[in-house]
Symmetry: C2
């Protein structure tokens, strides 16, 4: 079972105050890129893996999805998502992505934001997603970028000019990474970019777009603290399509 | 025109003493990965972009390629490649990949090792390669990894535990990188991983495999200096297939 850090009270109270949790999608600077990577939603059956408070699930429904299934490991998250949603076409359920099984060919789109880096068995998960998508269906997801996750001490340092610099080590050594984020010992799984992409290809996906979030000039003018995101990518965004049966 | 650093006498004399130039393919630790990414060569027409001394061109011919066209910007390289090759099915020519045009549907395989990071206009080059490949043809190439290239001062540093660590900054700022390698001011072009992959997809390629070189345990036992390559990837290796007409 994946570590359920989101139901740790310290974590949950800190996490709930992140701009993206307070302001929803407008608080997530990568949101315009995600929107551009998503196919048209009208008439689509969608699953949102790691749905959190349900911001994306509700947005997808508002864009015309006929049904949305939001899944999350956290009881707190699912309770809040249910409380914030009045729409019988959106269903929320507690689920562990390490063991989740969804029915075959049941969804047109599978979406996931910043969740898969908590998952140990990415191969099992991608095969399950491939199975639950219809032929031609899309998987769109974001994860923490392996450049961001790899190092033993992942925090800003300065180079010899004093420029903000991100350290990379242990990049090829995949597996557990323990970091402190609102609470001690948050457990994540580092995978190289090659492993992430090749696992998708091997499962029968065709890669459509691979993005590494960088803020636009307009975003930096509005939120100068985003400028540091030009120095190293924090987030990897991938869209892939089920084009082969396995 | 791409910078012709290889015909600089200081550069050429240093470069010629690299293990991979002295020992050929056995001196390149990534070679086993490249071999595994290449399709069968029997009966294939191959172009080798940035062929250098012709090590790979000759190997491909020995594996059964019916013809190999090796291209390189460097007169020194092409002269040495010609001197080292006695095979009328291998042709070497001086060419600038920034402006090169090859005939349509003339090749089954296009290969390139550690050359494309010298090229400014990668979009033009990928479209040209797409055009010169037959339908179903393969592009297999290696480049310096963007993690390796991005920083203003790309050299090893130590983290707080003294561990070898690679600095990353300016990752999202694409364009020129000037480094000293055998001589001053070697000019390379940094592109994000997303840009490299999306440019291939937009040109009509289907990505088949994305590898980031890491040494095996056996390689490290034999050559302990390779252990540092586990800390950060120096090389990106991509195989892609022409599956769409453009």
């Amino acid at each position: 079972m994946a570590q359920n850090i989101y139901d740790n009270p310290d974590f949950f109270s800190g996490y709930s105050q992140l701009p993206r949790q307070v302001h929803g999608l407008d608080g997530a600077p990568e949101w315009p890129i995600i929107r551009a990577m998503l196919p048209a939603l009208i008439g689509k059956r969608v699953s949102d893996l790691g749905c959190g408070f349900g911001w994306v699930s509700r947005w997808m429904r508002a864009q015309g999805a006929v049904s949305v299934l939001g899944l999350d490991l956290s009881e707190n998250m699912i309770a809040r998502a249910k409380a914030d949603t009045q729409d019988p076409a959106i269903e929320y359920r507690i689920a562990d992505l390490e063991t989740l099984e969804l029915p075959a060919a049941a969804f047109d789109i599978v979406f996931s934001a910043l969740t898969f880096h908590y998952i140990k068995d990415f191969q099992r998960l991608t095969r399950m997603i491939h199975k639950t998508l219809v032929f031609g269906g899309d998987l769109v997801f974001t994860i923490e970028h392996p450049i961001f996750m790899a190092a033993a001490h992942p925090h800003w340092i300065a180079d010899e000019d004093g420029r903000k610099t991100w350290p990379v080590n242990g990049y090829s050594v995949e597996g557990e990474r323990h970091t402190d984020w609102f609470t001690k010992g948050v457990l994540k799984y580092h995978r190289t970019l090659g492993t992430t992409l090749n696992t998708l290809i091997a499962a029968g996906f065709k890669l459509h777009r691979v993005e590494e979030f960088a803020p636009t000039r307009e975003q930096i003018e509005h939120s100068p603290e985003l400028a540091e995101e030009l120095e190293r990518p924090m987030m990897l965004l991938v869209s892939a399509r089920k084009t082969e049966s396995r």
